[in-house]
Symmetry: C2
Subunit: 420 residues, 2 copies
């Protein structure tokens, strides 16, 4: 008898047949007595089609007009779903980002939500309507259409759930939930029943694609319970919720990875104060995101500096770095895009020792060399040669016994302790 | 050095190649020193594609959601044209109906414009931008998206020209201008250089498709000069302007026709007060538009009543009429959808006698029987058997010498007087 926000991604609304299936699921939730807000993405492929059109119109399309263009994708889906619901005899109405008054800054194509002023949304809900909201879109204070970046419909759903203080935000997708790792790589990957916001955040930012990173941040900030589940089955999925004691007993919850970064190394750069700023300042000015940075121990006042950047920005980064390296008198600059980053994630790391060494041993046991290491309180990432990625994921999955269901017993604490 | 509103229809923006050609024409106008507002339709075929989707989603799609759906067509074109202009180095910005604040009533799918509050439009123009407006769409006072009905982009263009007190509203289309009649039927049809609002209004409402009827009404009301011209050539088209003396000297300016109506006849209905109301009341209640009504002379207190309705509403109309006829004790009800209506139009009719009889003689000379007649101050319409339509158009075109260019001499007055 509460408010439920349901979000359906592109593959779930890929054609009218599937939109009809979504309508049935929405109707079922309503029949159970809930008030329902539905957030939809563009039909699968539509956003890419529109982006290609924009680039065809103009080699470097302005982001403002690109947003006007691509936001039509969600608009079409929202109207079609509302029509399907009406056809089934349910009162439904579609609302666009500007109609719900999802206010954002004006960073077109990756705008941040500043406020939701959804009077209209509440009014329609109060009148008993199922409200279908076009995801991914908002407007700035001048009324321009903005979009929230890839996966932005997740953010729309979470933001509306927070605004409405909804009982649940359901993210329907084409997989059964959040897995311990990619089942395509590791056949004994297991669906996780419950995961904390912090872990989900690391999983998403380290490469798991099931939820948009910013939507998890938003959910954590406003304590919105998320249920990630499949739109193609009735199985329970994964609950993303505040951390609890149960979770702390699991050392490692999941393994994420990404292959979209390359690394740059500056060799024999003078090891003196201000050098790092000289190198990374220009990259920041160019808007290039540097991820992991490693500096080796200085010899004779000279050190090697290695860092990773997105592959798509490798060329621009190299241009800037080579110039700075020359100015600094460094010996040479090399690059490598055949790398991958594999990360183990778990809130249990806070209270369990020896996790890192177990990770390194597992990789070493297969002869996988670790090129870079980066850690946070609940995550350890290793950069390795990309050809070893699948092997690394499988060996880590096994080392931390992720294929075995966590038991409800006290013995759980021992899980992940094996193999050493 | 003035403000020019340019509207481009669906065939003019059918693909990116053509949108680029439109961009060049817009740029040229701006290079001449004008401030330019461009109104665009959806790419040819897009509106029909979206309407088909709506019907597939729901057999009787709600008009509100249909408007949300189809308005994406113009949104896409407006963004693409703005991108093309930017790619050519021109400052351009797209604006949607709700951003220009084109306020309408909430008759979805055929909304009427109530006000334009285009502060944003003026601001962008003042900043030197080319403003590309998505045609066909507006919003009601609650912020819902509405559309203005087929050909609604013409209305958007005229309304913005009126609001901005523009110097000219150019309607770019796939023909060279307004013709004396359809050149596809009558090879010696001639492009008209100047035509009055009143004549254009009759031409449009009697079947000429070059301009939307309501946009002509709007232009007439606010004295907006319209230039109808081809987007595929640089030829001058047709100016639609206030009536002047020159125009009055031409008896007939053009011939329009439509084939989308059928007729219904109620035979031997009692000829007493209130009968017409009993017949047409129920049709009005159903929202069925009755066009021409003819009642023959009563015999023995019984009369035949004939009227035309749109073919698409024939079935519904027959159901209502047959019921009423039974109640009234009429003998029978018949229908015929093999009819066409041909109309001659000209402000000169006001001051020239004998026009009707010349029309009837011309039709009679080819053995074409007239089934119904309807007249206005500047128009005479005849309903005939549809198979004679092309012949009727050609014989009337010849009878009123429409193939000959109007001379600038006083002798002009005699044009159209021949043949009798």
């Amino acid at each position: 008898m509460g408010i439920i926000v349901q979000k359906f991604g592109g593959t779930s609304v890929a054609d009218l047949e599937r939109i009809r299936r979504v309508a049935k699921r929405v109707a079922l939730t309503r029949d159970q007595g809930h008030r329902v807000v539905v957030v939809v993405s563009a039909m699968a492929g539509e956003t890419d089609r529109l982006l290609a059109l924009a680039r065809e119109a103009c080699p470097e399309p302005s982001r403002r007009e690109t947003d006007v263009l691509v936001s039509t994708g969600e608009q079409v889906t929202s109207a079609l779903l509302a029509l399907c619901l009406q056809g089934m005899g349910y009162p439904a109405v579609s609302l666009l980002g500007h109609q719900v008054q999802i206010y954002t800054d004006n960073r077109y194509s990756s705008a941040h939500i500043q406020a939701v002023a959804g009077d209209r949304l509440r009014k329609e809900l109060d009148q008993g309507k199922i409200v279908v909201v076009a995801g991914f879109q908002g407007m700035d204070r001048e009324g321009n259409i903005t979009t929230l970046g890839r996966g932005g419909s997740d953010l729309t759903a979470v933001a509306l759930a927070a605004y409405l203080e909804a009982d649940l935000c359901e993210i329907y997708t084409d997989v059964e939930g959040v897995y311990t790792t990619d089942p395509g790589i590791c056949p004994d990957a297991r669906k996780i029943d419950r995961i904390s916001y912090e872990e989900m955040l690391e999983m998403a930012s380290q490469g798991a694609k099931v939820l948009q990173t910013r939507s998890v941040e938003f959910a954590m900030k406003y304590n919105v319970p998320i249920h990630v589940r499949s739109s193609f089955s009735d199985e329970e999925g994964t609950m993303v919720v505040p951390e609890d004691q149960e979770m702390e007993r699991v050392v490692v919850s999941g393994i994420a990875f990404r292959t979209d970064e390359g690394k740059i190394t500056i060799k024999k750069v003078p090891d003196r104060p201000g050098v790092a700023a000289r190198i990374f300042g220009p990259l920041a000015d160019e808007g290039i995101n540097v991820d992991i940075i490693v500096q080796n121990v200085s010899e004779d006042g000279l050190a090697d500096m290695t860092f990773t950047v997105p592959k798509g920005e490798m060329k621009r980064a190299m241009e800037r770095v080579e110039q700075v390296a020359k100015e600094l008198g460094a010996r040479e600059v090399t690059w490598d895009d055949q790398i991958a980053k594999v990360s183990i994630i778990g809130v249990g790391m806070r209270t369990h020792a020896g996790v890192a060494s177990r990770m390194f041993s597992a990789l070493a046991s297969e002869g996988i060399n670790i090129q870079m290491i980066s850690t946070s309180e609940i995550k350890i990432s290793c950069v390795i040669e990309s050809k070893y990625l699948e092997l690394a994921v499988r060996v880590l999955h096994k080392a931390f016994r992720l294929g075995e269901p966590p038991s409800q017993e006290g013995g759980e604490a021992s899980r992940g302790e094996g193999d050493e």
